[in-house]
Amino acid sequence: MVITKRRYPMNRTFLTNASIAALLMVAGCAEQNSSKVEITLPNKNPFPSTYTIPKNTPFAIVNANVLTGDGLELTNTDIVISQGKISAMGNDLEIKAETHSIDVKGKWITPGLIDVHSHMGVYPAPSTSNHSDGNEMTSPVTAEVWAEHSVWPEDPQFEKALAGGVTTVQILPGSGNLIGGRGVTLKNIPSITVQGMKFPGAPYSLKMACGENPKRVYGSRNTLPSTRMGNMAGYRKAWIQATEYKKSWDEYISDSAERSLSNTPTRNLRLETLAGVLEGDIRIHNHCYKVDEMAQMIDMSKEFGYEIAAFHHAVEGYKAASMLAEEGICGVMWADWWGFKQEAYDMVRENIALVDYAKACAVIHSDDPIQIQRLNQEIAKAMSAGNRMGLDISPAKAIRWGTYNAAKSLGLEDQIGSLAVGKNADIVLWTEHPLSVYSHANKVWIDGDLRFDRENKSIQPTSDFNLGIIKAGAVRP
């Protein structure tokens, strides 16, 4: 089965996946000859983003040193930002007199950092049971739950990540389940609703989990899965159901002659999400530490005809590097965490560097509200480990792990993850070299809007939660 994968479902308010849209056109032609029941398909986007790019007058950042985010280092560069996008970029640009210019005098800029594995909002601070909303561990397959419905937008962790230069985050459900639910990609901006943070048009993801966690959670309850073979059986059972479900809808859509109100398939939220994966709409982000399990997940994806976007926490990514390169799957990794579980025992600090060396898509992630505040340092450590073994990785190449490659794993590399004309103006200005331990994000723009300014208290947003805890007007780093 060939899946045509679309990066951006363009028309989410109606019928958003390619195959249904195509089938509808056929159905539309057929309808000229018959007057059967009009087709109504489930709304694929019932919680649409309400985010809009704030109106800003064009401005320019001049005399910057740039890590472009997709592998280049540029010196003395000017960037013009207009309507949230980079409209011009180059050396000695002619900037209109009326355009406000910020002369950064050789300071470094990078694209906004992207964390593709965060639980901010679903496991907020303070970490209390009332807000512990990241793991629906009541059944091993909960594809029907959506992380966005758990996100608490006032989580004070978001603003800390922003101060670290993180502009886009993928919020995922936890890994207690085989299939944990949908993830959501957010812009890291203050909002009273999650819809206000949702990245418009970003594909949904589905969180799956290999290995120890699901079998521990359900094994302790004496239900499947209690073993790794139970894990595999659990996923496959779900994909078989999803295949059947998809078929029933496909038949309903295509077979206009037989269609009637009475044979409209019954909606099943769980299977609807899984069918979305089979149709190439929803991207698999798979918690999977070990190479042997990655290989099995890949075989299973071929058995059922879907693709895997990324393996997260790929502590054994270096063992799987060639496989990841061949299959076009991103390895999402930490710089150095290990030893908390057996499946995280075979850590090498050169993991990210080696996955990159094998020409696979290497991505850094935090999975942690402390580490997300300094992804640049995590990148520095991973680069340094690679260089120590002689891999000769430049900062321009290394930064890709938290920019372009991260965007690619989310299916958003056309919009974010690098600095180039036409891309979103998600930009971080650093106080020192971005990979220095002494560096801070000095200014952070999202879609050309200044969202954080280390030098200006009034552009350091704080959540409702902090009012009365942090004194009015005080800054708490």
Binding site: A125, P126, S127, T128, P156, Q157, K160, E212, Y318, K319, A321, S322, D336, W337, W338, G339, F340, K341, Q342, Y345, D346, M347, V348, R349, E350, L354, Y357, A358, D368, P369, I370, Q371, Q373, R374, Q377, A380, K381, M383, S384, A385, N387, R388, M389, L435, S436, V437, Y438, S439, H440, F465, N466, I469, R476, P477
Partner: protein, 413 residues
């Protein structure tokens, strides 16, 4: 036969060290009182014998230290190194006990595993010593703190440096879920320890009143109540820190505070009491209601008030990546702390406070316990290029490096 072999081995090691004098040239040397740029350091028999611009002696081995830096070997003041292998595998985890009849008497040193894979991994990145701190699982007192050295023959240096107690929300939970009750329990235990100390003979003969804690636990607390052994208390909220300071004064305890995420709010009081603190300077989140005041410049504010700092690093890396205490120090500097003060918080301060066999300093006459870094000592892009622990060069070998080399080979065409 065994004995002969042992003597031979010892002689061999000594000879090999004796034969190797080492001259590190043009290196920035971070001493406890400041940085000496571009100087030379001569090491003989594992001892620093000369530091200076002009050293005319030759050595068996020269290292060009241009653009590099030298610091004392790193200490991490809150780890479980040697008492954990894989955190999720219970039988490898010995830094807490669910046995509620063992509290203060627990010595984490007795669980130390010198063959742990964590040790080579950490020492190749510059960690030479670590504190092993037991954690509370059933009682406010978690047991006795140890100092371990991570050299060629990893060993326990002190098996009972301090008594650890938990006065955080976790501890309160063990004490009936009220910080007020926890304080009563602490006070009662200290009073009992005093009473036991005065009436030991009668108590052991069964001729005295009963105690809540076992005799073994009370015996372990004796040195705490007589002031000879520090009480190391984990606590976070400003008001809790105040209560512990008050308690320490009342019982005339030798106190060390740990965690103190809201320490900056009561920094002057901590300084006035002369109490050192073990902190992770990176921790800036209101992860619980007792840490709502957490901030990234806690280390700076405490230091400004005159508090002596000892560093550790973030919870998920406490033992497996204890060497990342250096990243914690770097971030403290990025947030305003003086660089020399930050380095002291992971070298000379713990070495002195915990009476280590090395000074945590680089000075003539001291044992060479030091790290040569590829650049600035706190930059994450500076790798440890040479590590000497207690006068011996440690091999750059670990399980992790072996895995790396095995799989790098397989990636070659």
């Amino acid at each position: 036969m065994k004995k002969i072999l042992f003597i031979f081995t010892l002689a061999f090691i000594t000879t090999s060290v004796n034969a190797n004098s080492l001259l590190i040239k043009n290196v920035d040397v971070y001493k406890s009182n400041g940085m000496e740029p571009n100087t030379n350091v001569l090491i003989k028999n594992g001892e620093i014998v000369a530091i200076g611009k002009r050293i005319y002696e030759t050595a068996d081995r020269d290292i060009d230290g241009t653009g590099k830096s030298l610091t004392p070997g790193l200490f991490n003041s809150h780890t479980h190194i040697g008492a954990v292998e894989v955190s999720a595998i219970g039988p490898t985890v010995d830094y807490y006990s669910d046995n509620d009849s063992v509290t203060a008497a627990l010595k984490i040193a007795e669980a130390f595993n010198p063959n742990s894979t964590l040790i080579p991994h950490n020492r190749t990145h510059g960690l030479s010593h670590a504190l092993m701190i037991p954690e509370s699982s059933t009682h406010l007192f978690s047991g006795q703190v140890a100092l371990v050295q991570l050299g060629l023959n990893p060993r326990v240096i002190h098996d009972s440096l301090a008594m650890a107690a938990d006065f955080t929300e976790h501890g309160f939970d063990l004490s009936g879920n009220s910080r007020a009750a926890a304080l009563v329990e602490l006070r009662q235990a200290l009073d009992d320890a005093k009473d036991f100390s005065r009436n030991k003979k009668a108590a052991l003969a069964g001729d005295h009143r009963n105690y809540e804690l076992s005799y073994a636990d009370l015996a372990a607390l004796e040195s705490v109540v007589n002031g000879s052994k520090p009480l190391l208390v984990h606590t976070n909220r400003a008001s809790d820190i105040r209560n512990i300071l008050k308690l320490a004064k009342e019982f005339q305890l030798n106190l060390i505070l740990s965690s103190v995420m809201e320490g900056w709010m009561v920094a002057d009081e901590i300084a006035a009491a002369g109490v050192p603190v073990i902190i992770d300077p990176i921790n800036n989140l209101p992860s619980s209601y007792e840490t709502l005041g957490a901030r990234l410049d806690n280390a700076k504010l405490l230091s400004d008030a005159g508090v002596k700092l000892l560093f550790t690093n973030t919870s998920r890396s406490t033992s497996h990546n204890a060497y990342l205490v250096r990243q914690a120090a770097g971030n403290a500097v990025a947030n305003g702390l003086d660089k020399i003060v930050a380095i002291a918080a992971m070298t000379s301060n713990p070495a002195q406070l915990f009476d280590a066999p090395v000074s945590g300093d680089i000075a003539v006459g001291e044992i060479a316990d030091l790290v040569l870094w590829g650049g600035d000592p706190l930059e994450l892009t500076s790798e440890a290029e040479l590590v000497m622990i207690n006068g011996e060069i440690v091999p750059m070998e670990s399980r992790s490096l072996q895995l790396r080399d095995r799989y790098f080979k397989r990636l070659q065409p």
